[in-house]
């Protein structure tokens, strides 16, 4: 099969093809007044057809997608010269310039796209609740594709998200552009979705990362602009949507084993065990089609000795997805995930002289529980213009803690959503939806409570030439323990201007909100010398988000296979911001502090060069997170925020080997709530974070080998006071595809 490469003179090629058809006088000739461009898009290396490639005529709203074999056709084009852009997840985008179209003569093309690890999904679904070209999104959206996820062979998705621009985590709490900080696990301003369904715990809004089947993730979309207008409470700081894969066309069985070993601490005095700690992770997955339907099932067993004394964990996870295609108009999916886990439990180290050891009297503290998620999706294509989508979800979580401080919790969450979208002539799309959520919790530290919410949302999006205008709003009402808690209305307005296929500007503003969680309102607990007391008088916090940004995207130029630059300036102003505040009696209440503001600049760069030999991805975020008084004057820096955040990764792909080097820098946390630095003794010292990781992987037939070292230089730091972060670990992963 002959594949035209980008290095061939493209205008000449198109003319030659047209001339060829003219010369041989094929019967495919169209009537004199009709013209078309047809062709096939293939993988440049294997030559196999690529389905679902997004093909767009430059400076025009017209476009199409390739069929299952990679073929495409564009009809009714006036004679002239056209530029066509081709984009697909995992492949470098490509522009075919000067495609000559002559009246009555079909023009045929054959395009070879090159695989590229950095090529993120070009079509995203989270920012507008519908499929949208990422270059046309009026919001800050980034996406991580399956190749990038597979290249790290992570067990926990947090290890992927921590290397994304503007995303950080403290003790598993997601933090997008500094909005969440650390709230002791009792409330988050970043919403996690799995296949579009909220996955936050019903009492504390926490995330159980062990329930995300990382090896079955198709892509991750991160919306960094406030998302309350579409997703409600907890989305005011952004949304992470983890989209699980569907079964591939051919049956596939995969066995994967990962063995990891922790280093002993670099500092001899900190050594706390004679034998090294190990990590074992084994996964078995099978996927296949049943006629029109498809399914995958995955079983994971994990044992982690932990990098510190009470950091051990044992888990058994079973997850599966069934996709049912019920004719042309109906489709459904069911996702099930069940996790049984047992882990050590500690909230603090023994001392700064023994940071990897647990405090006296807590060595037997552990927690044991089960968690189950059942999600259902049903899509109905009512007509060409109207699609109805419904989602239902149930989440059940039970755990008991034993040891010095016995504890228990039982929680449940039920979620229902119906969404209808309609497209009118003139590129106008409307989306309307209703959601209902019921939460229940019975826990030792919260008591027994229930909450529920009802929301309606509406979004209109209109494409006018190079502009995409989006406006939407959400109305939501909350009840806690049968009493009205709040009613909130959140509008948003956004505009994208794409003057060229390689450049897009975006500007957006919107209101966000977050209703206090049950944990923030009712926690009653003691931690060290501090006591946490309930504050049922908390009110919802609100925000106004503003952002302006630009994206430059270029593919397949002389040396560069892919170039992407995304710059954003954002300003988030919060009212009644909820933070844990210790008072002069060392009693911590979650309180509505008067105001807060986060001003920031974010810049992300992705480069792939020399025929995919080298790729480089880097992003930095600069934040100014401050607490304000009623007059708008700065009172203090918001606690648990890093002012500077810089992530970089370099990949080299040669001789079938993939080598990678990653670096993560976060500036020293300037303000904390519990233990302040002692200037005389340096006790509770806070330091900046400099962490380096490296990996070497290779695919050999059905085998995949991956060796990784994380925290190469054994850099020791804390984010949360008196909690040391991860020790160096070497992991080796082998995967065999049957």
């Amino acid at each position: 099969m002959r594949i035209f490469q980008a290095t061939i003179a493209r205008p000449l090629r198109s003319v030659l093809i047209a001339a060829f058809y003219m010369g041989v006088g094929l019967s495919q000739q169209l009537p004199q007044n009709q013209t078309s461009i047809s062709g096939r898009v293939v993988d440049a290396r294997s030559g196999s057809g690529l389905p679902g490639v997004n093909i767009q005529i430059q400076r025009s709203p017209s476009g199409t997608t390739s069929d299952l074999e990679g073929y495409f056709q564009l009809y009714d084009l006036p004679p002239g010269n056209y530029g066509l852009s081709f984009s697909m997840m995992g492949y470098a985008p490509y522009i075919e310039k000067n495609v000559a179209v002559v009246a009555g003569i079909p023009t045929e093309l054959q395009i070879g796209l090159k695989l590229n690890i950095l090529a993120s999904p070009q079509v995203v679904v989270t920012s507008s609740r519908k499929e949208q070209d990422i270059m046309e999104s009026p919001f800050s959206v980034s996406a991580i594709g399956p190749r990038e996820i597979k290249a790290k062979a992570v067990v926990n998705m947090i290890d992927i998200l921590s290397y994304e621009s503007g995303v950080s985590t403290i003790k598993g709490q997601l933090n997008i552009r500094g909005t969440s900080g650390y709230t002791m696990g009792a409330g988050t301003r970043s919403l996690l979705l799995v296949d579009g369904i909220p996955m936050l715990g019903s009492a504390a809004g926490n995330v159980t990362w062990g329930m995300i089947p990382s090896s079955e993730v198709d892509r991750v979309e991160i919306v960094k602009s406030g998302g309350s207008a579409l997703y409600g409470s907890s989305a005011m700081g952004g949304v992470v949507n983890i989209i699980t894969r569907n079964a591939p066309p051919e049956p596939e069985t995969r066995i994967s084993t990962q063995i990891g070993v922790y280093s002993h601490p670099r500092i001899e005095q900190w050594r706390w065990r004679d034998k090294r700690g190990f990590v074992y992770n084994t996964e078995l997955s099978h996927s296949r089609r049943f006629g029109e339907h498809a399914a995958w099932l995955r079983i994971q067993k994990r044992r982690d000795d932990g990098f510190m004394e009470l950091n051990w964990e044992e888990a058994l996870n079973v997850s599966g997805k069934i996709k049912l295609n019920l004719g042309n108009a109906h489709s459904a999916a069911v996702f099930l995930n069940a996790l049984a886990d047992k882990s050590g439990l500690t909230s603090i180290w023994k001392s700064s002289a023994n940071p990897f050891e647990a405090p006296e009297g807590s060595k037997n503290d552990l927690t044991e529980g089960t968690k189950t998620i059942l999600n259902g999706h049903y899509n109905y294509v009512y007509s060409q213009d109207v699609v109805i989508k419904t989602k239902v979800s149930g989440f059940w979580n039970t755990w008991v803690g034993s040891g010095a401080d016995p504890n228990f919790s039982t929680e449940s969450r039920y979620y229902e959503e119906i969404q209808s979208s309609k497209t009118w002539p003139g590129k106008l799309t409307g989306i309307f939806g209703l959601t209902l959520q019921q939460n229940g919790v019975d826990a030792q530290i919260f008591g027994k409570h229930n909450s529920n919410s009802l929301a309606a949302f509406l979004l209109f999006e209109k494409k006018i030439h190079q502009f995409t205008l989006s406006t939407g709003s959400r109305w939501e009402t909350y009840r806690v323990d049968g009493n009205d808690q709040d009613q909130v209305f959140s509008p948003q307005l956004a505009l994208n201007w794409k003057p060229a296929p390689w450049m897009a500007f975006r500007i957006s503003t919107g209101q966000g909100f977050r209703v206090p969680t049950v944990a923030e309102m009712f926690t009653s607990a003691r931690r060290s010398i501090f006591t946490v007391e309930p504050n049922p008088d908390l009110v919802s916090e609100t925000s106004v988000n503003r952002e302006i940004g630009i994206v430059l995207l270029s593919g397949q130029t002389r040396f560069l296979d892919l170039f992407k630059l995304d710059v954003a300036v954002f300003h988030n102003r919060f009212e009644n911001f909820i933070e844990p505040i210790p008072d002069s009696s060392a009693v911590i209440h979650f309180e509505n502090i008067s105001d807060a503001r986060i001003l920031g600049l974010e810049m992300g760069l992705g480069i792939s060069a020399f025929n995919n030999l080298l790729d480089y991805k880097s992003a930095f975020t600069i934040l100014d997170p401050v607490e304000l008084d009623a007059q708008g004057d700065v009172l203090d820096t918001l606690s648990y925020r890093h002012r500077y955040h810089w992530v970089s990764s370099l990949g080299i792909h040669y001789w079938g080997l993939d080598a990678s080097l990653e670096y993560r820098y976060l500036s020293r946390i300037e303000s904390v709530e519990l233990f302040q630095e002692n200037v005389f003794t340096e006790q509770d010292k806070r330091v900046p974070i400099h962490v380096w990781n490296a990996g070497l992987g290779s695919e050999y037939g059905p085998w995949l080998f991956l060796f990784r070292v994380e925290n190469i230089f054994q850099y020791y730091y804390t984010q949360l006071e008196r909690n040391i972060e991860e020790e160096r670990i070497f992991t080796f992963t082998v995967e065999r595809q049957l």
């Binding site: 002289a353 010398i529 270029s554 060392a586 500036s667 003794t681 850099y715 730091y717």
Partner: protein
């Protein structure tokens, strides 16, 4: 030319901002081995209600000549104990004095208001050991000292 424009523009902006950030980056300086004092405080008998908790207080040696302003010489104190248990406090190398004290206020209140307590002439502490224990801390040294308190 069009395809080069975003690359050149983007790389230039990137370079300028990256250089700025590199210069701003804090130099690496992670947590290191520390020195200090640790051990056990054994509480014998019944602690009176007026004493809320027990802790080790570490003072500079100069405190012995200026007992009116003892707060000015307080360097660190261990996490207060409600019953017998292990204590620990981090110290830089140097000469110190240690005494076991009873806290007359809730340990949380003491921690939250430490600055104002240190400035006041009367600290809400009562000495539980006779005299003071002088000790020398060397680089990366953790001294082990056990204490017995009788009520």
């Amino acid at each position: 030319m069009k395809s080069r424009l975003p690359v050149i523009t983007g790389l230039s902006v990137w370079l300028i901002l990256s250089l700025g950030l590199i210069f701003r980056c804090d130099s690496p300086g992670d947590l290191e081995a520390v020195s200090g004092i640790q051990g056990r405080i054994q509480i014998n008998g019944v602690m009176p209600d007026s004493i809320k908790a027990v802790a080790l207080v570490v003072l500079l040696p100069e405190a012995i000549n200026d007992q009116e302003h003892i707060g000015a010489y307080l360097i660190n104190y261990s996490e207060p104990l409600y019953r017998s248990g292990a204590y620990y406090t981090q110290l830089k190398p140097g000469q110190y004095m240690g005494i076991i004290v009873g806290l007359l206020v809730d340990p949380g209140i003491f921690a939250a208001n430490i600055d104002s307590y240190l400035e006041s002439p009367e600290l809400p502490l009562v000495q539980l050991t006779e005299g003071v224990h002088a000790f020398l801390i060397r680089e990366n040294e953790m001294q082990e000292i056990d204490w017995d308190i009788d009520f």
